[in-house]
Amino acid sequence: MTPVYEPWDAARGAEIIAEHSHLEGATLVMLHALQEAFGYVPEPAIPLIASALNLSRAEVHGVFTFYHDFRREPAAKHVLKLCRAEACQAAGGDALAAHAEARLGIGMGNTTADNRVTLEPIYCLGLCATAPSAMLDGRVVGRLDEARIDALLAEAQR
């Protein structure tokens, strides 16, 4: 299922931020909520969070950039995350990752030129007894082999 995001809108952004401003230490909660709505955290949202929480813009920027999850620009239509941690390495994950990179013609962390697929590493999905595993747009897939990876890639490229 392709995720659907709203285009950035400052009023909508402020509304989302206001929904969470009653929480203690709400910065991460707000960043997550914004990314869920817009697919990324648009630059103009940072000062909005800062003013809602009485923080400096630099502090919010620091939080935003510390965490791997938050995006500064939209991802491709589909995001394929391949687990690159030890349990998946032990089960042949390195070869599968190389296969996916070759098939897509991009390295980990990049997006295909047609903007259809973003390929990302993830460090453990907790599916270590059914390794190697992946997540396509939030859907988990285990016991990957070349055939299953190819099926996922075909699905993502459609």
């Binding site: 910065t27 349990a87 032990a90 270590c128 059914t130 390794a131």
Partner: protein, 518 residues
């Protein structure tokens, strides 16, 4: 009466097709005109059999697995006619892999409906809380201490002492924080419990709150676990509706409420002080200790931080099980440990058993060796910061002290099995690389050391002044071990040093080996 069929909603089962199987069973039932009730449970943890479905029968639940949606119709037929089927596994509780376990923390996982308070109650749920409400805080803590429970996150600190410290620290506000930032590769016990028995976590945290006098708790769950986040939030809402969270819990004078906070892909936030920073809305930078979180923790207030498995074990202990719990185990490691068998393993999954079982029994006997069928060469115990063990050390008993004595750690109980195609210098390099990616950057040994470690191991792998560079890596590991602020930089040397010590032949130019591993 409708046939009740249990299908896991555990992410590990969903990843191998449990949702499709549930759908196919429904379709098969409607086309055959039989009424079935599908109950979505957690997983029993026998992952090589997932998706494993169970059917309620007068003899107990009968299991079938591993199913694909194509099997649904024939399995349903076998269920209705009580006939044979090649995937029929017999009464679930009698499956040897499950039967030889001692499931205390995981007693209900895979059995109950994780969305139902009633089902939890029907399976001994809230018995520990009910008893705790009749006890004084001191008596609750005495029970926890008597059980011998030690922190299941890896550090193994006695839970009772931690609680006592918080209880004795006076403050207007105190907090309970559950560490569900299960980032270690090879571990999934927290995820299974959140998805399969979330109320036990709520109950354990509530008991902690009563014991130390806290009114608010947070569960910090990693963002890589969306199913667990959803399950935990649903359980919290259900518990609130049933009066188990909120004002005056169970009609008592105690009030306690919970909130889920979701991480954002930073491994270091599994370190307790970094987690506190993250919950407070800041960069996950590690804090120096002291002050201990028990004195000055979340928002500067006294805070109990325990691993999810520790909290999930509390209800059993408080329901009159302290003595029984302490009777399991060996040495100073009392009770049971939910061990997770992962990686290249034939029978992978969740195996809860008393401390003392040997590594060899776990890997060869219970785990059945590798699924590739090749010989086991190395196992990493305790996640990315745990040591690699060779077969020669397979007599090591699963016990905090025994692993420490062999320069390893049990961590959160994950065991990742590798076959003989593994290149151990590559694994050592990965340990350093992972530390470099995930370092919070506060202390120099971790921030700089990890990057230098990668570069130096690369030189060794390229055959450049091998002996000198190995000495440099060893020196660097010592600096990181003793000079880092937290376990990320401090324990990254474990996998590196153990690989060097036990698999020295993989370091340096050995063209044939390198080619074989590519």
């Amino acid at each position: 009466m409708n046939v009740r069929i249990f299908v896991p909603r555990d992410a590990g089962a969903i990843a191998v097709g449990a949702d499709e199987v549930a759908l196919a069973l429904e379709r098969a039932a409607s086309s055959r005109g039989v009424a079935i009730d599908i109950v979505r449970t957690g997983s029993r943890g026998l992952y090589w059999l997932e998706p494993m479905v169970e059917v309620a029968t007068p003899q107990g639940r009968v299991a079938f697995g591993p199913l694909t949606s194509a099997d649904a119709s024939a399995v349903l037929e076998a269920v209705i006619t009580d006939g044979p089927h090649p995937l029929r596994l017999g009464v679930t509780e009698n499956i040897p892999w499950l039967k030889r376990q001692t499931r205390l923390t995981f007693a209900r996982c895979g059995v109950v409906d994780p969305r139902s308070v009633e089902d939890y109650r029907a399976h001994q749920g809230f018995k520990g809380l009910e008893r705790a409400l009749e006890l004084t805080p001191d008596a609750i803590i005495a029970d926890v201490t008597a059980s011998g429970l030690r922190g299941r996150g890896g550090a193994g600190f006695p839970t009772g002492i931690k609680w006592k410290t918080v209880a004795q620290t006076s403050a207007d506000r105190k907090y309970i924080v559950c560490n569900a930032d299960e980032g270690d590769s090879g571990t999934f016990a927290d995820r299974m419990l959140m998805e399969g028995d979330p109320f036990v976590v709520i109950e354990g945290m509530t008991i902690a709150a009563i014991a130390v006098g806290a009114a608010k708790g947070y569960i910090y769950i990693r963002s890589e676990y969306p199913h667990a986040v959803e399950a935990m939030n649903a359980a919290i809402q259900a518990a609130r509706r049933a009066g188990y969270l909120g004002e005056r819990i169970g009609g008592s004078r105690h009030s306690f409420d919970l909130e889920v906070r979701v991480g954002a892909g930073a491994y270091v936030c599994g370190e307790e002080t970094s987690m506190l920073e993250s919950i407070e809305g800041r960069r996950g930078i590690v804090r120096a200790k002291p002050p201990l979180p028990a004195h000055k923790g979340l928002f500067g207030q006294p805070t109990v931080i325990n691993n999810l498995l520790s909290f999930a074990t509390i209800p059993f202990i408080l329901a009159g099980g302290a003595k029984a719990y302490a009777e399991f185990g060996m040495g100073r490691s009392r009770g049971t440990m939910p061990i997770q068998l992962a990686g290249n393993i034939r029978y992978g999954g969740l195996f809860e058993t008393a401390f003392g079982v040997t590594l060899g029994e776990l890997v060869d006997d219970i785990g059945g060796g590798t699924f590739t069928g090749r010989p086991v060469r190395a196992v990493q115990v305790g996640g990315p910061l745990g040591a690699y063990f060779p077969r020669a050390l397979f007599d090591t008993p699963f016990d905090y002290e025994a692993f420490a004595a062999r320069d390893g750690l049990i961590g959160h109980g994950g065991i990742v099995v590798f076959d003989d195609s593994v290149d151990m210098s590559r694994q050592a390099r990965f340990a350093m690389e992972f530390c470099a990616i995930e370092s919070c950057g506060k202390c120099t040994p971790c921030r700089i050391g990890s990057t230098r470690g990668v570069e130096t191991i690369d030189k060794i792998r390229a055959g450049e002044r091998v002996a000198e560079n190995i000495a440099a890596v060893e020196d660097l590991c010592n600096t990181m071990k003793f000079g880092s602020l937290c376990a990320l930089g401090g324990f990254t040397p474990y996998p590196v040093m153990s690989a060097l010590k036990h698999f020295r032949e993989d370091f340096g130019p050995a063209p044939t080996r390198l080619e074989a591993a590519e």
